[in-house]
Symmetry: C2
Subunit: 308 residues, 2 copies
């Protein structure tokens, strides 16, 4: 799957993943009204609104980008009905040829971690059958529990040719509380980064590993160091746009070949119509605003990479 | 909710939480056969088998213990249908008067962490209504992302009078890879433990905080240190039984008042009938075997606490 992701990044020329993190306040009123009219102000109504909103965006951007990253929390808060919208979104994006990164940040140990790996990347045994559950292409994983938490994911990745992105240095302001603490003079995120490189060596695609890393755009200098520590790991870069990361900050995350990083934008794309810059599209054409925001982001990154 | 948990622990005399982590290999054949006959070898069939299996155990143990801890990964691997079984289990346990700890180990940042908090402990806005989603009483949370990940949970805990258990030192063999690394001469888990005490101070119940910690039974000496660092935090202790933790190891996790810790056992109770010790019950009476295993565990812990 990492080979497919790299191929799609090359083909689209856009190292961009669109974060499908639908918040109710992003969804245009006309979509919410239609859903609530059909299902009432219920969890089912919310699920339907999310699904219709996502579908509009996916239809508008699927030919421009290699991948999408639905954040499962935004669906899970609506319970079962929200997760049905998540499942529909995953399936639809795959039908449209997009690589789907499930932003699930799961992490546990042993058989429990195996269950999460199976839930999102693998197949589960039911009697004599093996059945897929959520079936994304990649998943994000939390490393705090150590190798016991990661190995079951590696096993499923090897079997299914799928991949993971392990949290190394997250984009939030307080990520340093634990991740930056010095261990023998080196920050924890470097120690985790080294383990990512080690685990990744066991799961290599053609050029890059199935095992990638999450490193926030808001910490470009740390990105530079981690880029060197994990040369074969694809870096998933959140924090561009709304969280303050700029195109120029991104260059450190890429390798010399122009590959090695994929930059996420969520609200900057899916709620573009709510920004002054794209207000002219209006709520009715929210998906066209998202398309334009993708084109602008692609240009911003391309400029930064040319200019380095 | 922490007050209610403490009250129930006092009343039952059993600082025990039963881990409802149903694996297909634990479920007696007669239950699986009935479910597959009705729904086929499908995810729905698996969900039905899990739900019937759980119901039998809950009916057999609800009067003996204060709390249950369903591990969501074991349900999530069966997709939507598995999560419906999770939801049914949570609701049924609450009807039976049990405190429900959702072992979800979620952790993200900002609005995403808020969405997880809402999903498991709070209520979500849908139009003009506020609706609960999974609605457990407690949830487990991963601290790797720092305060930005924890604060949204604290907010929901304060609003809803619910609680969290933050991973501090997990029970698995490789937990030390990151958690034991020395920072200014002290292991990371101590630094996390101090933050737990700090966060917990903002969310106090009568005697204990809404903010507890997870510390594995397999590390009793670390439990002793952490007990002192977080005097007001309830400690959720996994790793008893199957993972090697023994009653005598548990004393360090309790305060002098005999409170302050609640010990989890999952397969040791729910799959007791598969152990030689309880084989005489047979698969047909699996729930009675679970009841006996709870009684034996209660005795084991009581002996250890008396003997200290």
């Amino acid at each position: 799957m990492i080979n497919r992701l790299v191929e799609k990044i090359r083909k689209t020329g856009a190292p961009i993943v669109v974060g499908l993190d639908p918040m109710m306040k992003f969804i245009p009123e006309q979509i919410k009204e239609a859903a609530f009219e059909e299902y009432g102000e219920t969890l089912q109504g919310a699920g339907e609104a999310i699904w219709q909103y996502n579908k509009g965006i996916v239809d508008a951007i699927f030919d421009l980008v290699p991948a999408v990253k639905p954040q499962i929390a935004m669906y899970e808060q609506f319970g079962i009905e929200g997760l049905i919208a998540f499942q529909k979104t995953v399936n639809y994006c795959k039908e449209k040829g997009l690589v789907v990164i499930g932003d699930v940040k799961r992490g546990d140990i042993g058989s429990t971690s195996e269950a999460y790996a199976v839930a999102h990347l693998g197949k589960v045994a039911v009697g004599s059958r093996m059945l897929p559950a959520f079936d994304e292409d990649f998943a994000t994983v939390n490393p705090y529990l150590g190798s016991d938490g990661i190995r079951p994911f590696l096993k499923v990745c090897q079997e299914e040719k799928k991949g993971i992105f392990i949290l190394v240095k997250t984009s939030n302001p307080s990520s340093g509380e634990f991740q930056d603490r010095l261990i023998d003079g080196r920050p924890l995120y470097e120690i985790v980064g080294e383990k990512v490189a080690e685990w990744g060596g066991e799961c290599m695609g053609d050029e890059y590993s199935y095992v990638g890393a999450v490193v926030g755009a808001t910490y470009p200098e740390m990105g530079r160091v981690l880029r060197r520590l994990m040369p074969k790991a694809y870096i998933l870069v959140p924090g561009y746009g709304a969280q303050g990361g700029k195109g120029a900050d991104l260059v450190h995350f890429f390798n010399e070949d122009g590959l090695g990083a994929i930059v996420n934008s969520s609200r900057g794309i899916i709620a573009a119509y709510q920004q002054e810059k794209y207000a002219k599209f209006g709520a009715a054409n929210y998906a066209d605003a998202s398309r334009q925001a993708v084109l602008d982001m692609k240009e911003d990154i391309a400029q930064a990479l040319v200019g380095r």
